[in-house]
């Protein structure tokens, strides 16, 4: 079946089997291996991507269901060479150890900050509760998201 998907602003058209999962479409068909493939049971959240602006677990979405949709992966977070504040926060606050959960964490964090620019620690933990860090580095992940929130506001205040 032929599908067309907009991934990070670029249009891709491919012939795929209906049973192909979105995570494998992104990784194997498009070579976008920033989206990780973890538990395969919609528990761990490393495969999180945006589907039409909403974070979802791509191991539980068929690629054909994304036909005509916009997908955003971790490769689409940075603006050219300029890292997203969430990415900068993960660097500044040591928000990753092995890095396996990081792409999903950052995409969900980006969605959170878009809807709630000043989240509390509890709100950050709730937003990330569908994602597992096997290194158990949650403290620094939460700090990274807070860092991004604070620096985004500073940037916006300077701009205005």
């Amino acid at each position: 079946m032929r599908i067309s998907v907009d991934v990070n602003g670029e249009a891709y058209t491919r012939d795929v089997s209906p049973r192909l999962l979105l995570v494998h479409f992104l990784r194997d068909e498009l070579g976008l291996t920033g989206t990780h493939w973890g538990c395969d049971t919609s528990n761990c959240g490393v495969c999180a991507v945006w589907l039409d602006g909403t974070p979802v677990k791509s191991c539980t979405v068929l690629a054909v269901m994304a036909d005509g949709c916009r997908v955003r992966t971790v490769e689409g977070l940075a603006d050219g060479d300029k890292l997203d504040p969430v990415q900068q926060g993960f660097i500044q606050c040591h928000g990753l150890q092995c890095g396996f959960c990081t792409p999903g964490m950052m995409l969900t964090a980006r969605a959170l900050l878009d809807s709630n620019p000043d989240p509390s620690e509890a709100e950050i933990r709730e937003a990330l509760s569908g994602q597992i860090c096997r290194c158990t580095g949650y403290e620094n992940i939460v700090k990274s998201v807070r860092w991004a929130a604070e620096h985004e506001r500073e940037t916006q205040e300077v701009a205005t």
Partner: protein, 291 residues
């Protein structure tokens, strides 16, 4: 790697089209909405439909609104929609309570209300919540729509009254004054299926329980509700003595099974305690003193 078996895929563009596709594929087709129950089952080959009818394009079924003094929830409303709805929080906080503890935010972004009810998983939370509020399911087929009380909707685990060529399109809950509702759940970890859960909707008149509904999740309660405990409470006082006895009745009459989430006697105990807590919270809300 978990991959579903081969299947045909069709994307429905509206309700009529979905019904046509269901009619043409027959009983071997399954409707897929959020897919967060069905796709994992297909990956494990526990489900092997020959065709999937994708209804994510049926945006006309994605709504939550008040109409004719009823709360009306379209089948394609997502869990996240129910959780964030101010209408729902105002009239039936039992759903807001339940949605906070259903899976996780990413799953709630995708999973749908209609899909949850039609999957008919014995551990699914909304089935008990809708049973507690005595909702009505609206089912659409080629010859029109029919309504079914939600307490007659589930025939058993993974089985509902929705026929192969029909679609659950809406759930309706009457709005009545003087009510309060709440949902309480025990789970092993955040986002897990319930060990047990209880939901209560209660209406008070002149300080007496005029009407009450009690839903039970993952406890083997017939049609997800505790009829004997409801019967005991009707006409009684909304006090701790009544709640304790209702909890005891609910725990005795449900039929939980032993599994990795606990033995039967433990689940009966949790059923009773959660029934008491949900009754307490619903009564406080009915009195305007609950959070």
């Amino acid at each position: 790697m978990q991959v579903p078996a081969h299947f045909e895929y069709e994307r429905a563009s509206n309700v009529e089209h979905a019904l046509q596709l269901l009619a043409s594929y027959g009983s071997e087709a399954r409707v897929v909405a959020g897919g967060h129950s069905l796709i994992p089952m297909m990956k494990l080959r526990l489900a092997r439909p020959e065709a999937l009818i994708d209804i994510n394009g049926l945006t006309e079924l994605r709504y939550i609104r008040l109409e004719d003094n009823e709360l009306r929830v379209g089948a394609m409303a997502r869990h996240a929609d129910l959780l964030s709805s101010p209408i729902v929080a105002e009239h039936y906080p039992i759903f807001t309570d339940a949605e906070r503890v259903i899976a996780d935010p990413l799953v709630r972004n995708r999973g749908t209300i209609g899909g949850s009810l039609c999957q008919a998983d014995p551990s699914e939370d909304l089935s008990a919540a809708f049973a507690a509020v005595d909702a009505t399911a609206v089912i659409t087929g080629a010859s029109g729509t029919r309504t079914v009380p939600i307490r007659e909707f589930h025939l058993g685990p993974y089985e509902t009254v929705v026929e192969p060529a029909e679609l659950l399109t809406e759930v309706r809950v009457p709005i009545r004054p003087g009510g309060g509702s709440a949902y309480r759940k025990v789970e092993r970890r955040a986002g897990d299926w319930a060990v047990a859960a209880a939901g209560v909707a209660m209406w008070l008149e002149d300080g007496v329980i005029a009407e009450v509904g009690i839903g039970l999740t993952a406890l083997g309660a017939p049609h997800f509700h505790a009829a004997e405990a409801e019967e005991f409470l009707r006409g009684g006082q909304p006090d701790e003595v009544s709640f304790a006895e209702a909890g005891r009745i609910a725990g005795r009459h449900c039929e939980p099974t032993a599994d990795q989430r606990g033995p039967v006697d433990y689940k009966r105990h949790v059923a009773g305690e959660l029934t008491i807590r949900a009754l307490r919270a619903a009564a406080a809300r009915a009195n305007g003193s609950g959070e």
